[in-house]
């Protein structure tokens, strides 16, 4: 891909987010140009971008509720326009909470249709961080369907990661429409079967959901923290852990792609396709 045709990514920096730079780095590694834009910039600037990333962190320090305050900010008007135009939008962790609170996801009836509520964990409270495997959904309308049903180890780090809703049958409906893009699963891809594989009590083990059109993805785990092989823990179960061990002693191998890289590649490819069509 020539430099001229690289899609441009905007990483939106709400006050208090803290994963903006590594998220931009992961997008660049996947072939995009990426800029970090403050929440209060002139929002007409955003029309020039082809894809959008709402990074993780603690926008407004999770005051009132995670994502609640940022979800009301004016810059989201520009994001709404981009969504209408079909541009890819990814919210990671706090970014996912913002997308849900803003009503962009799941986008069935419109408005706020679900919550990413405080974790429910049998033997702990509050924040929880570790690694889990995600089973991706090859049938989803999301650009992340390009992951093709693969099982990816990804780190998560949150106190509020439990997808839930009081709209009757919402998750069944989302499941039928393929909007459940990724679920927590065992290392071999089989169902989580509850805690602790499902680390937060999320309904139907949901880790990521897209909107109806598929261009917006809200996910709780952090793919930007596993975009390089060197970021994978050496003793992780399964294929990726084995690869990490095999790479010991080779800096070049550790600089190779990690499990999260494919997600960014899929997103950037979707932006390119849209741009060229």
């Amino acid at each position: 891909m020539s430099a001229l045709s690289k899609p441009r990514a905007a990483v939106i920096q709400f006050p208090g987010v803290n994963c903006e730079y590594e998220s931009a780095r992961a997008l660049r590694a996947a072939g995009a140009e990426a800029d970090v834009l403050r929440w209060n910039v002139d929002s007409t600037l955003l029309t020039e971008y082809d894809l959008f990333l709402l990074p993780g962190g603690f926008s407004y320090q999770d005051r009132i509720r995670a994502g609640a305050v940022a979800a009301k900010e004016r810059i989201l008007d520009a994001v709404a326009e981009a969504i209408e135009l079909g541009k890819p939008v990814l919210g990671i962790c706090n970014g996912a909470q913002v997308l849900v609170e803003a009503g962009f996801v799941p986008g069935l009836a419109g408005g706020l249709e679900l919550a990413i509520a405080p974790n429910r964990m049998p033997d702990r409270e509050g924040y929880f961080s570790d690694w889990r495997f995600l089973k991706s959904n090859p049938e989803s309308p999301s650009w992340a369907a390009a992951l093709n049903g693969s099982v990816l180890p990804v780190p998560f780090a949150h106190g509020e990661g439990r997808f839930t809703s009081r709209n009757e049958g919402l998750f069944e409906q989302l499941d039928a429409a393929g909007q459940i893009v990724m679920r927590y699963a065992k290392a071999d891809g089989s169902a989580a079967d509850g805690w602790p594989v499902n680390p937060n009590g999320s309904v139907m083990d949901v880790a990521g959901i897209c909107n109806r059109a598929g261009n917006v993805l809200a996910m709780m785990p952090h793919p930007e923290r596993c975009a390089w092989l060197g970021q994978v823990p050496e003793m992780l179960e399964g294929d990726w852990g084995a690869r990490r061990q095999a790479a010991m002693g080779s800096w070049d191998d550790l600089q190779g792609p990690g499990p999260g890289h494919a997600l960014f590649t899929a997103m950037v490819a979707a932006a390119s396709r849209r741009k060229e069509s």
Binding site: Q13, P15, G16, N18, C19, Y21, E22, R25, A26, R38, N40, G56, G57, F58, Y60, Q61, D62, R63, D123, R124, E125, G126, Y127, F128, S129, D130, P155, A157, H222, E224, R225, A227, W228, G230, Q231, P233, E234, M235, L236, E237, G241, Q245, A247, M248, G249, S250, W251, D253, L254
Partner: protein
């Protein structure tokens, strides 16, 4: 109208009453000394200012002499020794630039005892500001934590404090976006009334972008402004420095001194600071930058100016305050969090204000937060503090910053305790399981899972995966850095010299497991009341021991940094925390905590601590000696702290560490772990279970021939290493050992099955399945965080 205190006209009783009325902790003779120095009666604001500046916390009035005499602080690659809030040492060249590693270490002990959540949180806040204000990115923090016995007399309170402190650390630290690289967690009944919450921060800064905490020399030729940035000044934290320097009478009092933490504002401020520092750099504008800590505006403005050889005029009427009712001395000296002081040329001020107030919109991020010009640099070396037309202080600036010294009486106490009478024929497998379930040994994963260790994306060894945290911060270069912290109160209380020396030894071993060369050390010296000869003597012994260990072990070798093998490990920053005791009179065990930063030439060679490949040979370095004193085995089995302590033999530590560092860097090592608390048996169990027990391998171990009893061989805490070596590198490893005159003891080999089998002279000593080990090791810590019994956050 500002009150003037006519000190010399007051009787002792009257002066004591005045000091008490204004909650000043100055001693009577110190108050008289203020008047003497000024050559006139001090104003109330001045007396408050000196009260802070001369507190033990700020002035090191008892400790400074000993620190200077004993600690090596210099080296060919030391860029900034312990003169400002953080020290800087050269890490190396990567991504086309030379990088400085910034290290800082602080305590927030008393505030955490009173308000665990806020105390721990503001502790992190203060330390990262120290690093940010050098122009550095903060790339990691560590939390060395010491709490009371969770099953002892103050069990409930100790557990509540721990839960509150951990909540404070994650609420604040995770929000800052700085990875937590672990630290450690120790329980001891000596902390029942006085927990220790230390925090270490490390940063990275390109060498040519270091910002100093002083007004630059260009201020002689051009008018400089003093800009105050951040939260509106309020009464929170007023008297904070003095608070750190008194003994807690009753933990429920003293609330005025604790501040309200706000990681959100801090994160936005750090982003805005970055924009300002970038702009100054691009335009070539020299600036001075310093965070506000103890002593507030008065302290930061006077120190910035004095360090550059200038004077300063500050007008408190221009300060953004939470309430107009605040007394002048409160505005001048309050320790309100999340503030910085900046000295910039006047022509540059407008643009600085715009970045903070408009681009980053501080007033909407926090009510009343802003950047404002509140003073100006002067050439006359006077320090002038006004509030509008009213002059609150006007003196030579050296008078304000001069400090005060004390000579204290020192009488260290060493506890000679005999070894307990040992039983023979104990079930050593049972004993191991008992040790694994002890709060001081058990799995820390439950704690680490509260922390964000992966933000920024550079972490390659997370807490619990190895003896040190390792970062790989560069894109085009395998250069990495490793950091660890150590300090064992069970040794310190027996012998303050050995306790401190052993802390340095263990930190060197921790880095060696990751192939890290020791670069620089930072310490937090936590002791009791320095006005008493015992605790003060323990402090003096601790300082001497750290100095001796840094010299005795030395830098070993390291071509890239220019250091010579015999250069001492430099101590580039640190902190002294005295008065750690309760009104009940017991001092904490002498608790020097050291953090050692190291340079890892190629992070791809860094091994974690877990065993990897079945069939790989496992070696031990470090002969087992009868050094069970202060150890966990004697404590649990015989309720005894007695016996001989491990001997800190610096030459041996150095030779053994050299072997490990070079073996790791040469790619021979698959796994490595140092032998410490709980001895060899606990060490190898941790290598089986590690941070990811589900992927654990096993070990079949035959103890090397020894005259010692089996329990001593398994559990003595003599330092050393256990390491898994690649099968095809065994000869290289043995040759390396021979070169350094170190004996490698072959222990056995890694097994596919997750279990531990130990034999001696062909006979089984213990056989434990992985599940048994895991059950004993994992459950204790979660149970110490009882749901519903934690403190309010």
């Amino acid at each position: 109208m500002e009150a003037v205190i006519e000190v010399s006209r007051l009787t002792e009783a009257e002066l004591a009453e005045v000091l008490s009325k204004y909650s000043l902790t100055l001693k009577l003779d110190e108050a008289r000394k203020v008047e003497e120095l000024l050559g006139r009666a001090p104003t109330l604001t001045e007396l408050t200012l000196f009260d802070t500046m001369w507190s033990e916390h700020c002035s090191y009035k008892s400790s400074r002499r000993f620190l200077g005499e004993n600690l090596p602080t210099d080296g060919p690659d030391v860029i900034l020794g312990p003169v400002e809030d953080a020290g800087i040492v050269r890490l190396g060249t990567a991504d086309g630039r030379s990088w400085g590693l910034v290290l800082s270490h602080e305590s927030h002990n008393h505030p955490s005892q009173v308000l665990p959540f806020e105390g721990a949180a503001t502790g992190i806040g203060g330390i990262v500001r120290d690093v940010y204000c050098m122009g550095a990115e903060v790339v990691g923090v560590l939390d060395p934590l010491r709490f009371g016995d969770p099953n002892g007399a103050a069990a409930r309170r100790s557990r509540e404090i721990m839960a509150g402190v951990v909540d404070g650390i994650w609420h604040y630290g995770n929000a800052l976006g700085v990875p937590n690289l672990g630290g450690d967690l120790v329980f001891h009944p000596g902390y029942d009334d006085n927990c220790l919450v230390n925090v270490v921060a490390l940063g990275l800064v390109p060498e040519d972008e270091i910002v100093r905490s002083r007004v630059p020399k260009e201020a002689a030729d051009e008018q400089y402004d003093f800009i105050l940035i951040g939260k509106p000044t309020d009464e929170s934290g007023f008297g904070g420095a003095a608070f750190a320097s008194i003994i807690l009478d009753d933990e429920e009092e003293n609330r005025g001194a604790v501040q309200v933490p706000d990681p959100f504002l801090k994160r936005v401020l750090s982003q805005a600071n970055k924009a300002v520092l970038d702009l100054a750099r691009v335009e070539g504008v020299p600036i001075g930058f310093k965070d506000l800590g103890a002593g507030g505006i008065a302290c930061v403005s006077s120190e910035l100016a004095e360090a550059g050889g200038f004077g300063m005029k500050v007008d408190l009427a221009r300060v953004s305050v939470s309430s107009d009712e605040l007394a002048s001395r409160v505005i001048a000296c309050s320790e309100t969090q999340e503030r910085y002081g900046l000295a910039v040329p006047r022509r540059f001020s407008e643009r600085v204000l715009r970045i903070y107030n408009e681009e980053f919109d501080l007033p909407h991020v926090y009510p009343g937060a802003c950047a404002r010009v509140v003073g100006e640099v002067t050439n006359d070396r006077r320090y002038v503090l006004t509030r509008g037309d009213e002059v609150l202080s006007d003196s030579d600036i050296e008078v304000v910053t001069s400090g005060i010294r004390y000579d204290r009486e020192s009488a260290p106490e060493v506890m000679e305790l005999p070894a307990p009478v040992r039983e023979s024929n104990r079930d050593l497998g049972r004993d191991l399981l008992m040790l694994l379930a002890d709060p001081n040994i058990c799995d820390r994963s439950y704690l680490y899972q509260h922390y964000d260790s992966e933000v920024q994306g550079h972490t390659c060894l997370r807490p619990g995966e190895g003896d040190a945290g390792v970062l790989s911060p560069f894109m085009d270069n395998p250069l990495g850095l490793a950091i660890t912290c150590d300090g064992n109160p069970w040794y310190g209380e027996r012998d303050p010299w050995r306790g401190a020396a052993l802390a340095v030894c263990e930190s060197v071993r921790n880095l060696a497991c990751q192939g890290g060369w020791p670069l620089a050390l930072t310490d937090c010296l936590n002791y009791g009341n320095p006005e008493k000869a015992g605790p003060f003597g323990a402090f003096v012994e601790g300082v001497r021991a750290i100095g001796a260990a840094c010299r005795g072990i030395g830098r070993m070798t390291e071509e890239e940094t220019g250091a010579e093998p015999n250069d001492p490990i430099p101590v580039i920053s640190g902190n002294v925390s005295f008065y750690n005791e309760s009104s009940r009179g017991a001092a904490i065990p002498p608790s020097p905590i050291v953090a050692l930063a190291g340079r890892v030439a190629d992070i791809s060679r860094v091994p974690g601590q877990q065993f990897k490949g079945a069939g790989n040979p496992v070696f031990m370095i470090g002969e087992r000696l009868d050094e069970m004193g202060g150890g966990v085995y004697n404590r649990l089995v015989y309720a005894s702290k007695g016996g001989k302590l491990p001997e800190p033999d610096f030459g041996k530590v150095r030779a053994e560490a050299l072997v490990m560092i070079q073996a790791v860097q040469a790619g021979m090592v698959k796994a490595a772990h140092d032998i410490a608390e709980g001895g060899l048996a606990v060490c190898v169990t941790e290598m089986i279970l590690g941070r990811r027990p589900e992927s654990g391998r096993g070990l079949k171990l035959e103890l090397p021939a020894s005259n010692l009893a089996l329990d001593i061989q398994l559990f003595t805490e003599t330092g050393g290493f256990v390491t898994e070596i690649a099968t095809d590198r065994v000869d290289d490893f043995k040759a390396l050992c021979a070169r350094h005159d170190v004996e490698p003891y072959r222990l056995g080999e890694v097994t596919e099955e997750r279990s531990l089998a130990i034999a001696a002279a062909g006979a089984a000593v213990l056989n434990l399945a992985g599940d048994e080990l895991e059950r004993a090791w994992r459950r204790t810590l979660p149970d110490l965080f009882p749901a519903g019994e934690g403190g309010t956050s």
